[in-house]
C-alpha cells in the first residue's frame, strides 16, 4: 500500500517542491491540481488499472504503454524480472509498469513477503490492540479524561484473528494491484541460472526458464536464530510464530531489544504477560539515539512488568518439555562466563533478521554473499567475487542488508527502475525514516546525535541540537499524552537537518515532515516558515524547527532547485 503512495509522491516531487515554497498566489492553484491528481491515484489502487490510464493521460509518453505491461522486448521475455514479491519487489514492479517496462515477479511463497505476512502488518494489528488495552487499563489516564471503564479484557482468538485478517486483506490488495497493472506473477522459487536468465518452478513440476533485460533480487530475510537456541515454534518462538499469537504466556523472555523485541514487549505486557529482556549490548534499545532510548526506557520499560539483563548472550535456550519450563543460559558478553539461568514460560527470539539468499543460484554468476547478504554498490548493482559489477543484476531490500526496512526496500526498487529506464538515481538512505510502533511510538530519520558528532568532528563543522516536548503541545495535552520528546540535530551554519528523533504520541506519522525535508534538501531556515494547523501534533515539529538557531538567512526565492536525493 504505502509503496504506491510513495511513488506517486515521487512523481510529483517537482510540483510539491514548487508549491511548497513559492509564496505567490499561484501556489493555491497548484495545490488544487495536485489534490486532484492524488485523489484519483488513490482511487486507482483500489479499483482497476483503466482509471489509472486516464490519470496518466497527462504524460503521453507513459500512457500508451501503461495498461498492458509494456511491449515485449525482442530478445527477452521481459524487461524486468523481480525475484520476491515482498514490499520491495511490489514497489519496484509498480514503478516499472509505470515506466513502461514489461515486468514479471516471481514468488515462491505468498505475495507480500515478510512485511505483510509475518512482520510490520500483522504486528500493527496486535499493537493496535495493545494500545487500546493499555489505555483502557490505565485507570489514571481514564480518570484524568473523566472516563469510567470497567475491567478491560480480551479474547486471544479474536486478537489473533484481527492480525490474520489484516495480513490477508493487505496481501490481496497487493496482489490485486499488481494483477490490475498486468504484472505477471510467476509462482515458484526463482533461481538465477546465468546472466539475464532465471529459472522458476514449484517442487514436483518442471522448471520454466525466463529471460529479462534486468533482474532485481528482492528475496528479503528470515528471522535470525543464533546457534544454541532451539526453536520449537511453541515455547521458543520467532516473530513468525509470535504474530499468530497462539498463546499468551505468563512470562516471556525476549532476546533482543531492538524494534521487534520492543514492539512485542508492548503487545505482551498489554495482554498481561511479564517480560524479561535479554540484550547482548550494554544498554537496552541500541541503535536508537541515546537520549531517546533513555526516555523510552523510562516510559516503555521501567513502569511496566518488564525486567532485563544487558551485556549477556542467550547461549542456550531449551524449549519447555518433560514438565520443565523454558531454560535460558545467559553468558556474559565480555568475559564469556556463565552468568545466570532463567526459567520462563516462553522465549521470543528477536535478535534480528538474516538474509534469505540461499538457493538463488548466485554461484552461477560468480557472486559470493557476505554473511548471506548480496554485496551491492550505492546504486544496488550487484558486485561479484572479483569486485566487478554484474551487469543487469540488482539486489534490493533485506537481501542486501543496507537498511532492513520495508519502505527502504521499496525505495531502493524504485531507484533501480529509475536507473534501468535511463535516469541515474541514488537513494539517500539518510532520508529514509524508521519507526517503532510502541505506545507511545518512536521514530527517527538521519543520524543519531553521537553519529552526527562523529561526522561533524571528521568533516570539521559544528552541530547543534534542538528539543521540544510534547508537554507543550496542545493536542498532546488534550489527549492527555504529554509524555514525549522531539529532537533535531542540525548544522547551525547552513541549517541542514542531520537527524530528527521523536518519542511520543503518533511519532511514526510525525517523522515524515523531517524525512521529506532531508530528502528534498529543505533547510531549517526555510521550513520554519511552513504553516501547521493548530492544534495538531505536527506543531511539535513546527516548534522544533522554530527553536533551532540557524545563522544562514532564509532563501529568498525558490529555495532549493535540485533535490539532494536525486
Amino acid at each position: 500500500m504505502h509503496s504506491t503512495l510513495s511513488f506517486s509522491r515521487a512523481t510529483t516531487v517537482p510540483t510539491t517542491n514548487y508549491a511548497f515554497h513559492s509564496q505567490s498566489p499561484i501556489n493555491l492553484r497548484f495545490c488544487g491540481l495536485r489534490r486532484e491528481a492524488f485523489g484519483i491515484s488513490i482511487l486507482t489502487r483500489s479499483s482497476s488499472g483503466r482509471v489509472r490510464l486516464s490519470t496518466r493521460g497527462r504524460s503521453k509518453r507513459i500512457s500508451a504503454s501503461t495498461g498492458n505491461n509494456g511491449t515485449p522486448p525482442k530478445s527477452f521475455d521481459y524487461d524486468l524480472i523481480i525475484i520476491g514479491a515482498g514490499v520491495g519487489g511490489h514497489g519496484a514492479a509498480l514503478h516499472a509498469v509505470e515506466k513502461g517496462l514489461k515486468t514479471a515477479i516471481i514468488e515462491g511463497d505468498v505475495v507480500g513477503g515478510t512485511c505483510v505476512n509475518r512482520g510490520c502488518v500483522p504486528s500493527k494489528a496486535l499493537l493496535a490492540v495493545s494500545g487500546r488495552m493499555r489505555e483502557l487499563q490505565s485507570e489514571h489516564h481514564m480518570k484524568a479524561l473523566g472516563l469510567q471503564v470497567s475491567a478491560a479484557g480480551y479474547d486471544r482468538q479474536g486478537v489473533a484473528g484481527h492480525a490474520n485478517n489484516l495480513a490477508s486483506k493487505i496481501r490481496s490488495n497487493l496482489t490485486n494491484s499488481m494483477k490490475a497493472l498486468g504484472v505477471d506473477i510467476l509462482t515458484g522459487f526463482g533461481t538465477i541460472v546465468g546472466p539475464q536468465k532465471v529459472k522458476y518452478g514449484k517442487v514436483g513440476f518442471t522448471d520454466n526458464i525466463v529471460t529479462a533485460k534486468d533482474i532485481i533480487i528482492a528475496t528479503g530475510s528470515v528471522p535470525f536464530v543464533p546457534k544454541g537456541i532451539e526453536v520449537d515454534g511453541k515455547t521458543v518462538i520467532t516473530s513468525d510464530h509470535a504474530l499468530k499469537l497462539e498463546f499468551v504466556p505468563d512470562w516471556i523472555a525476549i532476546v533482543g531489544s531492538g524494534y521487534i523485541g520492543l514492539e512485542f514487549s508492548d503487545v505482551y505486557t498489554a495482554l498481561g504477560s511479564e517480560v524479561t529482556f535479554i540484550e547482548a549490548l550494554d544498554q537496552l534499545m541500541p541503535g536508537f539515539d541515546p537520549e531517546i532510548s533513555k526516555l523510552a526506557q523510562r516510559v516503555l520499560i521501567n513502569p511496566r512488568k518488564i525486567d532485563y539483563h544487558t551485556g549477556v548472550f542467550a547461549t542456550k535456550i531449551t524449549p519447555a518439555r518433560d514438565g520443565k519450563p523454558v531454560i535460558i543460559e545467559l553468558t556474559d558478553a565480555k568475559t564469556k562466563e556463565h552468568k545466570d539461568t532463567l526459567e520462563v514460560d516462553a522465549a521470543l527470539i528477536a535478535t534480528g533478521r538474516a538474509p534469505f539468499t540461499n538457493g538463488l543460484g548466485l554461484e552461477n554468476i560468480n557472486v559470493v554473499t557476505q554473511r548471506g547478504f548480496v554485496p551491492v554498490d550505492e546504486r544496488m548493482r550487484v558486485i561479484d567475487a572479483n569486485g566487478n559489477l554484474v551487469p543487469h543484476l540488482y539486489c534490493i531490500g533485506d537481501a542486501n542488508g543496507k537498511m532492513m526496512l520495508a519502505h527502504a526496500a521499496s525505495a531502493q526498487g524504485i531507484s533501480v527502475v529509475e536507473q534501468v529506464t535511463g535516469r541515474d538515481h541514488v537513494l539517500n538512505h539518510l532520508s529514509v525514516p524508521a519507526a517503532c510502533f510502541t505506545h507511545p511510538e518512536i521514530s527517527m530519520v538521519g543520524l543519531t546525535e553521537p553519529q552526527a558528532r562523529e561526522k561533524a568532528e571528521k568533516e570539521g563543522f559544528e552541530i547543534s541540537v534542538a528539543k521540544t516536548s510534547f508537554k507543550a503541545n496542545t493536542k498532546a495535552q488534550a489527549e492527555n499524552e504529554g509524555e514525549g520528546l522531539a529532537k533535531l540535530i542540525y548544522r547551525p551554519d547552513n541549517g541542514e537537518i542531520l537527524g530528527v528523533h521523536i518519542f511520543g504520541l503518533h511519532a511514526a506519522d510525525l517523522i515524515h515532515e523531517a524525512s521529506n525535508a532531508i530528502a528534498l534538501g529543505t533547510r531549517i531556515q526555510d521550513i520554519k516558515f511552513a504553516v501547521h494547523a493548530h492544534p495538531t501534533l505536527s506543531e511539535v515539529l513546527d516548534e522544533l524547527f522554530k527553536s533551532a538557531k540557524v545563522k544562514a538567512p532564509a532563501s529568498t526565492s525558490s529555495p532549493i532547485s535540485e533535490p539532494v536525493a536525486a
Partner: protein, 485 residues
C-alpha cells in the same frame, strides 16, 4: 504532505489561534519543610554527607503509601530550592512536592506510576556533579533493601555495608523443594513489587508454576508482614498502632467469597475509595455506641432565613452549634489513641463529610468555636471548592476532632454514622420536620424537629457525657440567636 490540499482551512485556523503553550500546573505546592514543621516526628529528608534522599512524604495522616504521578524533573536536572520535583498522588489529592535543597537529581528510585510506602526513598539528590556516581550507586543499593526508618544513619561509611545482598544468604527459610541449592525464581513484576514493598524476595515461598515467586506471592508476603517501617514513622494521629494488623485479615478473607454473579463487572477502588474502605474496616476495632436526641429547630430555621442572604449555610450553623457545645464538653472532643488514655484536643476542629464525585472527603473547619458564623461560612465555601478540585491541603482534611454528617437535605429523618478512626464522636443529622408536640400542660403544638444521632467511642465517652453534650447542643440550637454572637 497533507497540508497543501487544505491550505484554505489551514489559513483560517491559524489566524484564529496562536501557538500552543504549556498548561499551568494547578496542584498546590507543599514544600518538604512545611510538612516537616507541621507533624511532629515525621522525617522527610535524611542528610548523609552531601547526598540526600528524597522520601515519599506523608501528605496526610492516613496516607501509608503514595503514587508518583510524574517526575517534574528528570535525572541529571539541576534543582534549586523551592522547585517542584515530583507530583505525588495521595489517597486524597495530587500534590507537587518541592525540594528545599539545591542540588542535582542524581537518580530516580521510584519511577512514574509506581507506588512507594511513606518514608521510602523515591529519589536521590546530589549536591555536585561529582557525587552523582556515588548517589547512583546508593540508589542501586537502595532499591535492594530497606532502611527508611532509623534517624540519620551513623556517619560511619554505611554506604559500604549495603544490607546483605540476597545471594549471600542461602535462604534456609525457604523450604521449597529439597533438591539441592535451588535458586529463587521470581517474575519481573514480582521483583518490582518486592522492591516497592521492601519484601525480601529470598524469604518468599513461590507458589507459581515451577515454584516461582509470582506478584501475588509478594503481595501476600507484603500484606502478612505489614509495613514494619511505617510503625517507626507512626505519626500524630490515629490508625497506625493497632490498625495495620487488621488489614491482612481482611485481605485474606476473600478466598471464601462466592464466585461473582455472571455478567457482573468489577471496578477497582480509586485511591480515595481505598482509603475510605481501609478506614471503615479499621473503625471496627473501636467500641462505639449511639445516642439520639430530638432537637427543635424553629429558632434555627428562623435564624437561617435571616442570615441566608449573607451567605451563611446550614452546615456552618450546625458546625458552629456543635463547636459551641463541644467547648462545654471537652471529653466529646477528645480522642483515644492507644486505648489507655484520653487525648484532649486543644482546638475544636469540625470535620464535615462531603460527597464528592466517586468518594467522600471531610474538609475541616478549624477552630469552629472561635470563628464567627460569617467567617465560618466563607471558609466552608472555600473548602468545598478546593475539595471538588482535589486541592485540599492535608491539614484541611485530616485535622478534624469531631465530625458532622448531614443527610437532612435528602429527607433522611435519622441515620447512624460510623466513627472515623482517630476521633471521639461523630454527629449524624437528619431532616428537620414539622412534628406535633405536647407540652407539660398538655397543649399540642406543631414544631420543627430534627433527630440528631451521635456515635462515640465508649472507651472515653460515656452515655452520660454524650447525653449532656446533646442537651447542650439542643439548647444552643433552640436559642439560635446565640450562634451569631
Amino acid at each position: 504532505m497533507a497540508s497543501p490540499f487544505l491550505s484554505n482551512t489551514i489559513i483560517s485556523f491559524s489566524s484564529s489561534l496562536s501557538s500552543s503553550s504549556s498548561l499551568p500546573r494547578l496542584a498546590p505546592s507543599i514544600p518538604f519543610s512545611a510538612i516537616r514543621s507541621k507533624s511532629t516526628p515525621r522525617r522527610i529528608l535524611t542528610v548523609r554527607s552531601k547526598i540526600r534522599e528524597i522520601f515519599m512524604p506523608a501528605l496526610s495522616s492516613t496516607m501509608t503509601e503514595g503514587k508518583i504521578v510524574s517526575w517534574v524533573k528528570s535525572e541529571g536536572d539541576v534543582l534549586s530550592k523551592g522547585e517542584s520535583v515530583v507530583v505525588v498522588e495521595s489517597d486524597k489529592a495530587d500534590m507537587d512536592v518541592e525540594t528545599f535543597y539545591d542540588g542535582i537529581l542524581a537518580a530516580i528510585v521510584v519511577g512514574e506510576g509506581e507506588t512507594a510506602p511513606v518514608g521510602a526513598a523515591i529519589g536521590i539528590l546530589a549536591e555536585t556533579e561529582d557525587e552523582i556516581a556515588e548517589a547512583k550507586a546508593k540508589a542501586a543499593s537502595k532499591s535492594g533493601a530497606s532502611t527508611p526508618s532509623a534517624p540519620p544513619p551513623a556517619p560511619t561509611p554505611a554506604a559500604a555495608s549495603t544490607p546483605a545482598p540476597p545471594k549471600s544468604t542461602p535462604a534456609p527459610a525457604a523450604p521449597t523443594v529439597a533438591e539441592g541449592p535451588r535458586k529463587t525464581v521470581a517474575t519481573p513484576y514480582a521483583k518490582k513489587l518486592a522492591k516497592q514493598h521492601k519484601v525480601d524476595i529470598e524469604s518468599v515461598v513461590g507458589t507459581g508454576p515451577y515454584g516461582r515467586i509470582t506478584p501475588e506471592d509478594i503481595e501476600a508476603a507484603a500484606g502478612l508482614s505489614p509495613s514494619k517501617k511505617n510503625v517507626g514513622l507512626a505519626v500524630v494521629v490515629e490508625t497506625k498502632p493497632a490498625a495495620p494488623a487488621k488489614a491482612p485479615a481482611a485481605s485474606a478473607a476473600p478466598s471464601s467469597l462466592p464466585p461473582p454473579v455472571p455478567g457482573s463487572t468489577v471496578v477497582p477502588f480509586t485511591t480515595m475509595q481505598s482509603a475510605v474502605s481501609k478506614n471503615m474496616v479499621e473503625s471496627l476495632s473501636v467500641p462505639t455506641f449511639r445516642v439520639g436526641y430530638p432537637v427543635t429547630t424553629d429558632a434555627l430555621d428562623a435564624l437561617y432565613e435571616k442570615v441566608k442572604p449573607k451567605g451563611v449555610t446550614m452546615t456552618a450553623l450546625l458546625a458552629k452549634a456543635a463547636a459551641m457545645a463541644l467547648a462545654q464538653h471537652p471529653v466529646v472532643n477528645s480522642s483515644c489513641k492507644d486505648g489507655k488514655s484520653f487525648t484532649y484536643n486543644s482546638n475544636i476542629n469540625i470535620a464535615v463529610a462531603v460527597a464528592i464525585n466517586g468518594g467522600l472527603i471531610t474538609p475541616v473547619l478549624q477552630d469552629a468555636d472561635k470563628l464567627d458564623l460569617y467567617l465560618l461560612s466563607q471558609k466552608w465555601k472555600e473548602l468545598v471548592e478546593k475539595a471538588r478540585a482535589k486541592q485540599l491541603q492535608p491539614q484541611e482534611y485530616n485535622s478534624g476532632t469531631f465530625t458532622l454528617s448531614n443527610l437532612g437535605m435528602f429527607g433522611v429523618d435519622r441515620f447512624d454514622a460510623i466513627l472515623p478512626p482517630g476521633q471521639g464522636a461523630i454527629m449524624a443529622v437528619g431532616a428537620s420536620k414539622p412534628t406535633v408536640v405536647a407540652d407539660a400542660d398538655g397543649f399540642f403544638s406543631v414544631k420543627n424537629k430534627m433527630l440528631v444521632n451521635v456515635t462515640a467511642d465508649h472507651r472515653i465517652i460515656y452515655g452520660a457525657d454524650l447525653a449532656a453534650f446533646l442537651q447542650t447542643f439542643s439548647k444552643i440550637v433552640e436559642n439560635a440567636e446565640s450562634l451569631t454572637l
